[in-house]
Amino acid sequence: MPELGSSSGWNAPITDRFDLSRTGLVVLKTGKVELGQGILLALRQIAAEELDLSVDAVVTVSGDTSASPFEGGTVGSMSIETSGREVRDAAAVLRSELFDAAARKLGVSVSEITAEGGQFFVASSRSKETFWSLAAEIDFDQARGRSAVPKSPNLYKTVGVNIPQTHLLERLGGGSFIHDLSFDGMLHGRVLRKPHPDARLESVDTDAICGPGVLRVVRERDFIGVVADSEQALATAMARLERRCRWSGSPNDGSQTPLDILANADVTERVLRADQGSSGPEPAEDGATLSAVYSKPLIGHGSIGPSCGIAIVSDSAVEVWSHSQNVFALRDQIARVLGRAAQDVIVRHRLGAGCYGHNGADDAAMDAALLARAVAGRPVRVQWTRKDELTCEPLGSPMRIAVQARIRDGRIAEWKLATRSGTHMQRPGWGEQVNLLGPAAANAEFATTIQMDLPEHNGGSKNAVALYDFPQHVTYEFSANLPFRLSALRSLGSFGNVFAIESFMDELAELAGCDPVEFRLRHLADPRARRVVSRVAEISDYSKPCEAGFGRGLGFARFKNTGSYCAVVALVSVDETVEVQKLWAAVDAGLVINPTGVISQVEGGMLQAASWVLKESVPTDGTRLIAESWKDYPILTFAETPETNVEIIADPDFPSTGVGEVSLGPTAGAIANAVASAFGMRIRELPLTRERLMKAALEAE
């Protein structure tokens, strides 16, 4: 169950989590992995705090299936929420065991000793005992299931502090990324992908591909790849291969966009919420009802670094290096495809370029394993091309959100929302399927045949229920047969749903003749929600009138209605095209571990959402993805980057909640509302391109 990947309660031996065998250091073992979000530093801060160590004294072993605890994936903004809590609990148990051992050894009571930097003190004088001298005294396995009370937040010295993210400077040189790994005798491989999902490899002249430096041409059914002794020889061979492959079948009708296909798709309906008296208004029979349809297109991850994987396959073992979000799930599927026992496959996480969900990382690792099988014992490195990234990675589903509401006495009296989407989950192993490109091409048995979304209020239905206090009827219309490869992209359905809800809130505020901030507060009892909305309005001068051609807009959500709270204000100018001038956010994530890390994640989400809202839509021809380069899938540039200002409302009384995905939906709402205000017309389809604005302006004339 990868995406649910919520870590299980902490009831494992301390040795699963900590290792004290290196004097002066505490090794923290974590199944969570670094994706550019700074998680490892935050987890080290939590452990260092409980153990009164400097952050530098805590080092991590991360995402290694042979050494890390199984913690599911690094997904769903759950790492601090769940793993952070577990690290804190486990560190508190370790601390308590060490203190008990020290008290026994020194013949004093626990209350008489203190520890700093791993050194024990008795009544302020240095003892001969340290964490490391006592490590052998502790039966770590016996500590299973014990509990100890973690430190009170008001004693924190390391948590909540801006420990500098020095890893950024380390990454300026070479060696930090998976792309930089090098092994003796390493070969380079790549797979030629199908031109469209229904294509079959009819014929290929493999002899014509062989040439200097080409070691193997590997073909299995529709899987065709090359292994060469250098990247240059590989590139030459792949260019030849592309010309020599004949594919059968043609893509579906090119006149339909992904949203057309979604609109006409068969769906299953699931009622997410049905409040009393919320059956929804009938079609407008008075001036107090309103209805609207919003949409978002197919969106890609677009990581700046291409997907990369390295594998060594020998008779006895399989070793893989990957920037996967879930090394355990990947390990299981590689084992399944290669017909090995899971314990004979080791997957080790290495840093990739920024990851925003289920991208091509797992595919590249599987590609490497399939190609490495043909050159037993030798390391094979696979690095995708930019075109591979743009046309093969899993995408964020198109969505269509229809909403109706009735205003009575200045309040929303009825609200009916139906959100329609394809799946947001197709990670390796999901639905008992392999869900990887290479195996699906090589063997029909491994093809993905069932599309199944995440259950409950997740996937496409994430944040479909509004946090506001009004009677709601909310339905999820799920299509299980969209002809695209869809999976988890940052915030999943939350982005589309919050964009629609927050846009509609502004439309309803106008109908009610009410200020949009006041209108939201009127429907928000939750004090933490009210606080972020009020605060962002304040710091952004929301109520200050704008010059002609400029507009401000606000968007708000609590991520998945149980996570962090975030409200965003956008200031935009509209002159044929939309320019976002400035973005403000107020975020409440409970107890904050590293404020800089939080700001960085919230701000990154705001700018990525700005890119999605203004520019992004994966170009298609029927079911074929046709982008060849960044020119065909433009993203936000430096020139288009607005100033940002993120304010954290830190509240250590509430548990930490994740921040990686919290700002995307609110930013979409804020920009859309600001554009509607500046432009005088509302565009309900993303992205808000110049063409859409011009079309709307022409139609209005």
């Binding site: 994706l35 550019g36 979000q37 700074g38 500098p164 993210q165 020095t166 890893h167 950024l168 400077l169 990454r171 300026l172 040189g173 070479g174 060696g175 930090s176 990324f177 792309h179 930089d180 090098s182 250098s230 990247e231 240059q232 677009g302 990581s303 700046i304 670094g305 291409p306 840093l351 990739g352 370029a353 920024g354 990851c355 925003y356 690095q383 930019r386 800089t596 890390g597 700001i599 960085s600 994640q601 701000e603 990154g604 989400g605 705001m606 700018l607 990525q608 890119s611 380069s629 960044w630 020119k631 993203i635 936000l636 540039t637 430096f638 020139a639 980057t641 607005p642 100033e643 940002t644």
Partner: protein
């Protein structure tokens, strides 16, 4: 077969033919892995290096194109200006994954080193050759402002 180049101030011989992309020789033959492959098409700037002090995309240059030139990678940028840039990047936490950052660093270093009084607008415009996907753009621009303030303060001290 080999190609003679000047990289980071030193003469080197690379075992590759002249049509090899510069980035592959830098990374795989010379072990200079701070230069990163992003797109292969001059769209993202992750592979930026200096050729005779001018920023160039190393993914589309071939070895034959640079045999008479001085190639500088991020590993070769270690002067006082580089230190000021690093400090500003850390102070503003100007990056998330950091994959795009070494190319950006090369461009920024060039802009700041070649102008006596660099202007924010010029430096920001030069970043048009680069893409960042983590949304660290705003923080990177704040780091630029910080460096320029530092340079101006230094100039007025002198």
């Amino acid at each position: 077969m080999g190609v003679r180049l000047t990289v980071n101030g030193a003469p080197v011989e690379v075992r590759a033919d002249g049509a090899t992309p510069l980035i592959l020789a830098l990374r795989n033959e010379l072990g200079l892995k701070g230069t990163r492959f992003g797109c292969g098409g001059e769209d993202c700037g992750a592979c930026m290096v200096l050729v005779d002090s001018e920023p160039r995309y190393s993914c589309t240059l071939q070895l034959d194109d640079v045999v008479r030139n001085r190639v500088t990678t991020i590993e070769g940028l270690n002067d006082g200006l580089a230190e000021v840039l690093r400090e500003a990047i850390l102070a503003e936490n100007a990056g998330q994954c950091g994959y795009c950052l070494s190319g950006i660093f090369v461009t920024l270093h060039h802009c700041l080193a070649t102008s006596a009084q660099p202007k924010y607008a010029e430096v920001a415009e030069a970043l048009g050759h680069h893409l960042c996907r983590c949304g660290a753009n705003a923080a990177i621009l704040r780091a630029v402002k910080r460096v320029l303030e530092r340079i101006q303060a230094g100039a007025s001290d002198a």
